[in-house]
């Protein structure tokens, strides 16, 4: 029984907002109404407190996840900076075999990055994510990343957080609406802890998972993200992911160089996402038995890349991003690493190995950014070349172009760099990358992946781009009679008769509008009320005001009660801009559907 108090467990009763709204408030006594409002308020408050606990639990889980990844790395690949060739080949391959068995037989929902699964939980499964998924994701992703597969810990952390939150919500028998919200709250906590960047995590979850901003959601998401970051920093320290060198834009003309980086980053994003989008269904279409060997084969190839001289592509690769930021690679090496990381990540991801795309995206972006900066410096030596700045901007560029989260991409760079001087280059480069990526690959990677999985989740990007129909798009010019409230019913009837109009609009004093239907007028005239003024018979029948810029949906709320609703000027409520009826709205929607 959703949305109700669970009498078996005796846990808290949490009603839904819909239920609260729908309750016959007007007919209940004043004391009961007050109690209900208090209950609703108390529920909100409880959810906020719960968000803090979700943040704490997710933070603890992410800390353990980080420990697990590091232990896997030490025991599978070795503790040294330079690794033995045998281990480089064997560790990711053998781990791939184990992962395949676990994913196929024990944790089938652990496959993939975790972002889409969290979205699916929100939109399809009413916030339900099995706890087993969190356990599976934890084990398989730690094995994969620790053994050198080219994947990151952020997206799995997001899913682990969401899964823990979902389990907690179920245990507390939260209402359906709350259950739908709780997964993103956990997701934000998981991502924030993994990234050590609460603002970016909140933005990403709002921008890519929930897709809307409301005070209630924002409060919970922020609280959970902040509490998880506090926990994470308690155990892992408050250092940022990278050591950030001083960032400076000496001349505005250098923005052209960053714009070029945006173009290159946009093209690289398209290449990266196209590769995944093309290869993934082909790998999935291979015979089932091959799925046991796909992660192992991917691991072997990645190991081979490492043996051939690029061990940097293994794992999340944060330490190498740090080195790139500090100019420790030549631009040729940076470009090679960017290309190889794209290949390695594609292999890991399309083989179904659980793990995230965030870290590889940042890696590719950093390498590409620093490489482009290096080339530009060779061609234009007068530019104030700083590999750190280009690498940071590059990270944002790939984030905007590949993950298609434009707001998050900007704030992520700001949060990671802690330097606001970088905002202008980031904005310029990200805009170019985003536009190029959108132009060449209309659907965002996460949307394509969900469709490949046979799901139809709302695309946040498409929602953002969708035009909103407004009242002005459907309203019609005023052709019927419009009368003042002090005129008589008799006069009104004559006018309606003369104009052969069924609905009569009445301008009330001092402001407001009402309407009378022709047959109502007729009845009142027959009852001998012809000398009464319109205002006297229309008391309490004021039509809610509509303005031309109101969303068309708003008009629909009133049209079942009022056959014709006046659309009035925002500055002068007595001035009519037009009128709107149910048929006008439906016609507009019909036209849109046909168009």
């Amino acid at each position: 029984m959703e949305g109700s108090f669970n009498s078996d467990s005796g846990l808290l009763p949490l009603q839904t907002e819909t239920e609260a709204e729908a309750a016959p408030v007007a007919s209940t006594p004043v004391g009961a109404r007050g109690a209900l409002l208090r209950a609703v308020f108390r529920e909100e408050r409880f959810f906020l407190i719960l968000s803090v606990f979700i943040g704490i639990f997710s933070g603890l889980a992410v800390v353990c996840f980080r420990f697990a990844i590091d232990w896997c790395r030490v025991y599978l690949l070795g503790s040294g900076y330079t690794l033995s060739r045998l281990r480089l080949l064997l560790a990711p391959s053998l781990a791939g075999l184990v992962i395949a068995v676990l994913v196929i037989h024990v944790f089938p929902l652990a496959r993939g990055s975790g972002v889409n699964q969290t979205k699916a939980a929100l939109y399809i499964y009413n916030g339900y994510i099995p706890l087993r998924t969190a356990v599976g994701k934890f084990i398989t992703a730690a094995l994969a990343i620790g053994s050198g597969h080219s994947l990151g810990p952020e997206d799995p952390s997001l899913q682990i957080g969401a899964s823990l939150a979902s389990a907690l919500g179920r245990r507390l028998h939260l209402s359906r609406d709350r259950m739908r919200l709780i997964a993103p709250v956990g997701a934000a906590a998981g991502l924030a802890a993994a990234f050590n960047a609460p603002i970016s995590a909140v933005l990403f979850v709002i921008e890519e998972v929930i897709g809307r901003w409301t005070a209630g959601i924002l409060g919970s998401v922020v609280l959970s993200a902040v509490s998880s970051v506090v926990v994470m920093r308690w155990f892992l320290g408050s250092e940022s992911l990278f050591r950030i060198p001083p960032v400076e834009l000496k001349r505005p003309s250098e923005l052209i160089a960053y714009a070029f980086l945006g173009v290159v980053g946009g093209l690289a994003s398209v290449a990266f996402s196209s590769g995944i989008v093309t290869l993934r269904p082909r790998f999935k279409a291979l015979p089932r038995w091959t799925q046991y060997f796909q992660p192992a084969a991917a691991g072997l190839l990645i190991g081979l890349i490492a043996v051939l001289g690029a061990p940097q592509v293994m794992g999340a690769g944060y330490e190498y991003i740090d080195e790139a930021i500090h100019g420790q690679f030549t631009w040729q090496m940076l470009a090679i690493l960017a290309g190889l990381k794209i290949v390695a990540t594609m292999l890991s991801f399309v083989s179904g190995t659980p793990g995230g795309m965030f870290a590889p995206t940042l890696f590719i972006g950093a390498m590409l950014g620093a490489a482009v900066g290096g080339v530009e410096h060779v061609i234009l030596p007068h530019l104030s070349w700083s590999p750190g700045t280009y690498a940071l901007v590059g990270m944002g560029v790939l984030f905007a172009g590949f993950l298609r989260a434009p707001m998050t991409s900007v704030f992520m760079v700001l949060e990671v760099s802690g330097n606001y001087s970088i905002i202008v280059p980031v904005l310029v480069a990200n805009t170019f990358a985003y536009l190029i990526s959108r132009r060449l690959q209309p659907a965002a990677i996460f949307d394509v992946l969900t469709r490949q999985d046979g799901l139809e989740l709302p695309s946040m990007e498409e929602q953002r781009e969708e035009g909103i129909l407004r009242v002005e798009d459907a309203m019609q010019p005023v052709t019927g009679p419009v009368m003042d409230a002090d005129e008589s019913l008799e006069h009104a009837f004559q006018l309606a008769d003369a104009k052969a109009s069924d609905v009569l609009l009445v301008r009330l004093n001092p402001t407001g509008w009402s309407s009378l239907v022709r047959h109502e007028l007729e009845t009142m005239i027959k009852e001998g009320k012809g000398n009464l003024t319109l205002g006297s018979v229309l008391i309490g029948r004021q039509i809610p005001l509509l303005h031309p810029d109101h969303p068309l949906d708003t008009a629909l709320r009133y049209l079942d009660r009022w056959p014709l609703v006046p659309v009035v000027n925002r500055a002068d409520f007595r001035k009519l801009e037009g009128v709107i009826s149910e048929s006008d709205v439906l016609k507009r929607y019909r036209d849109l559907g046909e168009g």
Binding site: S4, L11, L12, A22, A35, F57, D70
Partner: protein, 396 residues
């Protein structure tokens, strides 16, 4: 609980809501307490786990760091870099590890990478002496003089592990060395004065500072430092040679003679001091303006000097330089002509009969030595001594 449906929406009756409310109020504290204790329990569990995790990392970090230090000492910089990088994997941001990595990178001449690490360290601890010193060295290497001086000065006034005074002194010595390298002698002299002021009674250090004063061409201070060094009872050959050199440069040839003699006696292989001693002895022997010199002795010196100058003039002319046509200073006419003209008068009898000839003859000798040193290269032996006497005579 009864659910009524109205317009497709679920309606909860007021009575049910009241009951829910009561239950909610009564259970909320219990739920929050449960969550709190669960969080505390998990927190403690993760704390235990983190102790194991960090203990392992610390052990790995120390193991790799120790290897790195060994490699660094053995100048196996490549291995040291890998070791320190590994150590940093397990103890990210560790100051000492980063500093050692920077040192190893400097050993590999990977200055830019080292610079990035050092800059990061500097931001963490701007008062660290070693970091400032390494940054100064890199800036000096990059010929960024202002930066180098800034970092050197930071290093001089920075905090150092161990004996701070020694480290600071060594840094200032390095700074002086750098300043002398870029020919900023005046700045070097200022630094040396500050350095000398803070010296303890260590004869080795005093002699070392004397050497630096000597390089900075501050001979007075150099001589002073050597004297202080020797005052402490340490008459080593180098200090004696340095003092001799300083006295020689100051034109105090008597003093130079005694120091140089002692230096050569202490170190017979010191050819430079020996050569300088010979020149000093010649200066002392060939100077006709010395007091307590008999007339006969003075005349003999003038005749010898005049002859020597004539020889120098001839050898210079024979190497293609026309001394006859060259005017010497304010004296009109060619040097050769002047020498030829004066030569018959420069005899014992001539000089005794006309004492003013001593001055005229020596003036011509000095003109010849100066001019020939310009035209025909630095003189040697007696000519060198005569040139030095000329300088001495000018100054008196």
């Amino acid at each position: 609980m009864t659910l009524a449906l109205q317009g497709g929406k679920k309606i909860i009756t007021t009575a049910e809501k009241k009951r829910d409310l009561r239950l909610y109020f009564s259970h909320e504290p219990a739920i929050l307490a449960l969550l709190f204790f669960l969080a505390v329990g998990l927190f403690l569990g993760v704390t235990g786990l983190s102790h194991i995790y960090y203990a392992q990392r610390e052990s790995l970090a120390n193991r790799w760091f120790t290897r790195g230090v060994t490699d660094l000492k053995a100048q196996r910089f490549q291995n040291a870099v890998a070791d320190f990088r590994t150590a940093l994997l397990y103890s990210r941001g560790d100051y000492t590890f980063q500093l050692n990595l920077a040192e190893a990178l400097l050993g590999l001449k990977r200055t830019d990478e080292a610079y990035a690490y050092l800059l990061n360290l500097w931001e963490q601890e701007p008062e660290n002496g070693l970091v400032n010193l390494e940054l100064a060295r890199i800036a000096a290497h990059k010929r960024e003089i202002e930066q180098a001086l800034r970092y050197y000065h930071n290093a001089i006034y920075a905090a150092w592990p161990g004996d701070q005074e020694v480290q600071r002194r060594e840094t200032r010595v390095e700074l002086v060395d750098y300043l002398l390298g870029i020919n900023a002698k005046a700045q070097a002299q200022s630094e040396l004065i500050a350095l000398a002021a803070n010296l303890t009674d260590d004869p080795v250090q005093q002699a070392r500072v004397g050497d630096l004063f000597l390089r900075a061409q501050d001979y007075e201070h150099a001589l002073n430092e050597y004297r202080l060094s020797m005052k402490s009872g340490r008459n080593d050959a180098a200090a004696l040679a340095g003092a001799g050199m300083a006295a020689f440069q100051l034109g105090r040839y008597d003093l130079a003679d005694s120091y140089l003699q002692a230096a050569v006696a202490a170190n017979p292989n010191d050819a430079q001091s020996e050569a300088r001693l010979k020149t000093t002895e010649l200066v002392l022997r060939m100077n006709p303006f010395q007091r307590q010199l008999s007339v006969a002795e003075r005349d003999r010196i003038v005749i010898e000097a005049f002859g020597s100058a004539g020889e120098r003039l001839k050898s210079c002319s024979s190497s293609g330089h026309s001394m006859g046509s060259v005017s010497a200073g304010s004296v009109p006419g060619g040097l050769a002509e002047r020498w030829e003209k004066l030569q018959p008068q420069i005899t014992e009898q001539g000089l005794r009969g006309n004492p003013d000839l001593v001055e005229a003859a020596m003036q011509l000798v000095f003109d010849i030595e100066r001019q020939t040193s310009v035209e025909c290269g630095p003189p040697e032996g007696t000519d060198m001594a005569l040139l030095l006497i000329a300088k001495l005579h000018e100054g008196s």
